[in-house]
Amino acid sequence: MRKQTHSASTEINKNTEGLHNNVVKMVNTASKESVNVTVLVSVGEHPLSKRPRRAEQDARAIEIGLNLPGTQLHVMHAGAADNVQTNTVLKDYLGMGLPEIQVLNIPQEADNLTALTSNFTDSNPDIILTGIRAENGESSGMLPYVLSEQLGMALVPSITEILSVDKKAGFAELLQALPRGQRRKVRVKLPFVATVDMAAKAPRQSAFGAAMRGKITVVDAIATATTNNANTEWKITPAQPRPKRLKVVKAKTAADRFKAATAKAQGGAGKVIYNNQEAADAILKMLTDEKVL
């Protein structure tokens, strides 16, 4: 599923500040078409009050889109149209200064991937931005992966910034979030799907006036019944917090502790397995060791 990811050069850059100062270079003079950026937004959920809200990552995706000069920004929501709660949240997104949000009208039970895929086959976006995972519901985080596979696009997970887009050359430079505040610059072929990390720039304030003026346009979509009928029978319970692993502090000096806190986690134990059977055994062993199974 991730075979097309990071197609080109990657470089690890610990000094992220220099990168943030990079000016976004937009080269789209040759082909007069501007870059078509589509942001997929969902209805988020506040972790404490459970109220619907702008999903944090999706709002960051819009912020990235708004900060790209010379692009056509489309914001799209796939779900049931004319739902009061959904519309309140979509208005909140509109309040960021968007003229319009399109709603692909898909009934609650239907599968929105088919509708999205057929929509994107028609509209041919250059960049599709989504959050990493939804804030409620299944929250599997699978949508961007399946979408990129079906559209035959690359997928870049956890980006924080789009540094430049060169439509003529067909490449974009992105900044990807790594653990411990590190960033990696990746060059990716257009078109691509990217998920936006929480480390991206915080979304701008939603203004009431702009929210009221923005339009919600409903687009009819081909709705196919979901292939996964099982989920209607699912019982949803709040997630249990995962028990914390006991941390044995080996560091004796402050310098060691500092290193432990800042150094990148070293894998070391990983190995490359080509045989499917061996790979499955290794995964099973790991899951048993971690007491997941």
């Binding site: 506040h46 404490l48 009050s49 109220r51 809200r53 909140d92 309040g95 960021m96 200064g97 701008r204 304030q205 939603s206 203004a207 009431f208 006036g209 702009a210 009221m212 003026r213």
Partner: protein
């Protein structure tokens, strides 16, 4: 032709031309005001102008006796002189009585003008210079010219005294005086304040303020009826103000009382209420702030900001930090002798910044987002609102009770550990007085105060409507709250949305309980204490006496700070100022704590959760900060009867909790403590019996 024939005829022409030019200028000025938006025209107010000037305005001016007497003499003299001059020299009504009257009135004006001159020799920094420094000379010239002119007319001096020389000198003097006093009135000179000010008193947007009334609630925007395609929310350009607001800006006399009172200005934040109003005038009339001759916004170079009626104000004419520095403490409004509403103008501009531009600075956006999703400013889980009272067994509306005498409004102090102490004290006091009260529990929302002051009218209205709908389900007689901000919203701002309640601040309610002897306080503690008036209790709601009554009932003689009651300095916690956090050269609470230290008091008593937080944030050593409820609980005297009643009344409660609450919450006098011990042991045995 002799000088005494020549002068009246020249004067006739001079006065006629000046009056005509004045009328033209006045028409032009009226056109400037009419650029503003429609607002109710209070025609009846015009009839009240003299009364409002003599009573309401002078009530404010009289806080400075020097200038109030000076102004009575100068303005009174000027008005009389002008009426007489126009009667005699323009309309030709003559007679010895009029001449003597003119002599007297111009003399009166001259005396006043001398005092104006004396004050202007070494003007304090709050007074504007520029054209205003010229004014005393113009006043003296106008008064003396007509005084000298009347001398021959009354026969006190022979006609033709001074001959041509005096006639020419008088003519120059009168031309200058009339130019400043008549033309300046309509064409934007310092005397503009007389013309605009009189009309402003008549057409004031808050007519309730006159005749001893009070009007402090912010004006609401009708969000349902506004046409978003054409209309806009809040004020972007000068023309978006109501016409009578534009008129009010023109009334400013640049006396700088607001500047002296403004806590943000004193803290070096980029706000000067006087300059703000003058900038609004620049915006209305067009031009730049280069003409402004007073103190600039601290840290902002004046003179380069341009404005116009259709030019956006914020970040062009006025830096956005200026608009966000205000703590909405109303000290400027209280001090303004022209009764200008600075806070309304600031909130109008904030509304545009928040509702249309989405540019609330600092943590503003985060706070508003939290209010949207959790109904409290800090984003706590809404169902944790009552956690502070887990051990209090409070009756909750909709759970244990449907009606009570008193609805106890908790406010966001529920989430703050320091202010939970005040809440606990308040609950203990209400129980000691056997008050039948209940709380809304988790269904209470933030009152909307911070959202409204930060310009988010939409969130305020949602919260207000939610709270009103919640309270409509239950029966209660009064609302009592320890938070003056919630007090103000519930009392003065919920009415626009159909919520009319009998609201008490806890000090007002407790004062009644003490007066009716339902609570008795010991008087044997000699505390060295000063009291800090919360803005939203004092200036917003006029409550200065109840807190002082309670403190005195505890046998305390308050060491008043220099700035107290109407002149109290803000703690810096209002209007979302701690949220937007505009930097200055010092912090407002530090300045207020200096005020308190100057009284050498050990304790600073407060009546507001914001004030306790801001003042406790000042580094020690400093006086202790205590809410009046906490002080009262320390001084509470429980007699055996009330204890018995309480113990009987509390049998429904967990016995352990009841004992704990009693002992921990009530810090009793040594003698009373014995009583409690007896009673407690009595109660424990009785429990054992059961």
């Amino acid at each position: 032709m002799f000088a005494d024939d020549f002068l009246p005829s020249v004067l006739f022409v001079l006065l006629l031309v000046s009056v005509l030019l004045t009328l033209v200028g006045a028409g032009r000025r009226v056109r400037l005001w009419r650029q503003g938006q429609a607002s109710t025209v209070h025609w009846a107010g015009l009839l009240s102008i003299p009364r409002r000037y003599l009573v309401d305005l002078h009530h404010v001016v009289a806080s400075d006796k020097y200038i109030s007497n000076t102004h009575v003499a100068t303005a009174g003299g000027f008005v009389l002189t002008t009426i007489l001059v126009l009667s005699i020299y323009l309309f030709g009504i003559s007679g010895p009585v009029l001449n003597y009257a003119l002599l007297a009135s111009s003399a009166l004006m001259f005396i006043g003008a001398v005092f104006v001159f004396l004050r202007r020799r070494n003007p304090p920094p709050n007074l504007s210079k520029g054209p205003w420094s010229r004014l005393p000379y113009s006043l003296l010239t106008y008064a003396s010219s007509f005084f000298i002119l009347s001398l021959p007319a009354t026969g006190l001096l022979p006609t033709n005294t001074g001959g041509w020389l005096l006639a020419v000198v008088l003519l120059i003097g009168i031309t200058w005086g009339v130019g400043e006093m008549y033309l300046g009135m309509a064409w934007g000179g310092p005397m503009k304040h007389a013309f605009a000010g009189a009309l402003h008193l008549g057409f004031h947007r808050r007519q309730e303020r006159f005749g001893g009334g009070r009007s402090t609630g912010l004006k609401s925007i009708n969000l349902e009826s506004i046409h978003l395609e054409t209309g806009k929310l809040g004020v972007e350009k000068p023309e978006d103000f109501k016409w009578n607001q534009l008129l009010s800006f023109d009334a400013c006399v640049e006396c700088g009382r607001c500047e002296k009172a403004c806590p943000a200005f004193a803290a070096g934040q980029p706000l000067n209420p006087k300059k703000l109003i003058q900038d609004m005038v620049v915006g209305m009339a067009g031009g730049s702030d280069a003409q402004f001759a007073g103190s600039p916004y601290p840290g902002v170079q004046a003179g380069t900001h341009k404005g116009g009626a259709i030019i956006p104000i914020v970040n062009v004419l006025v830096p956005s930090e200026t608009v966000w520095s205000c703590t909405t403490c109303r000290a400027c409004v209280q001090e303004c002798p022209m009764m200008i509403e600075h806070v309304d103008a600031i909130v109008d501009m904030r509304r545009f910044e928040t509702l249309e531009k989405g540019q609330t600075p600092g943590k503003g956006a985060e706070l508003l987002e939290n209010l949207k999703t959790t109904d409290n400013p800090n984003g706590y889980a809404p169902n944790s609102r009552m956690n502070w009272a887990a051990d209090q067994n409070l009756p909750i509306f909709g759970q244990q009770v449907e009606q009570a005498d008193v609805l106890l409004w908790i406010g966001d102090a529920a989430f703050d550990m320091r202010n939970q102490r005040t809440l606990r004290a308040m609950v203990s006091l209400l129980r000691a007085a056997n008050v039948d009260f209940a709380v809304l529990g988790d269904s209470e929302c933030d009152s909307g105060d911070p959202a409204r002051r930060l310009g988010d009218e939409a969130t305020f209205q949602r919260l207000a409507k939610t709270n009103i709908a919640t309270m409509a389900q239950y029966k209660f007689k009064h609302i009592v709250t320890a938070d003056p901000h919630a007090f103000h919203c519930l009392k003065n701002e919920y009415g626009d949305f159909g919520g009319n309640y009998d609201v008490y601040h806890h000090t007002g309610f407790f004062a009644e309980l003490v007066k009716s002897q339902k609570l008795s306080l010991s008087t044997d503690k000699a505390l060295s204490l000063t009291y800090h008036d919360p803005c939203y209790l004092g200036r917003y709601n006029g409550e200065y006496d109840a807190p002082r009554y309670l403190l005195e009932a505890m046998g305390i003689s308050i060491k008043e700070m220099e700035r107290s009651k109407t002149k109290a300095r803000c703690c810096g916690g209002g209007g979302g100022a701690p949220i937007t956090d505009i930097p200055g050269t010092q912090r407002i609470p530090d300045m207020r704590m200096e005020d308190a230290k100057a009284t050498k008091a050990d304790i600073i008593a407060v009546g507001c959760p914001q004030c306790s937080l801001m003042l406790e944030g000042v580094v020690e050593p400093r006086p202790q900060v205590k809410d009046i409820a906490e002080l009262m609980l320390d001084a509470l005297v429980l007699d055996t009867q009330t204890l018995d009643a309480q113990i009987l009344g509390k049998q429904v409660l967990e016995e352990e909790t009841a004992v704990d609450t009693k002992l921990s919450a009530v810090n009793l006098e040594p003698t009373a403590a014995k009583v409690v011990n007896v009673k407690v042991s009595h109660k424990i045995t009785s429990t054992a019996d059961v």
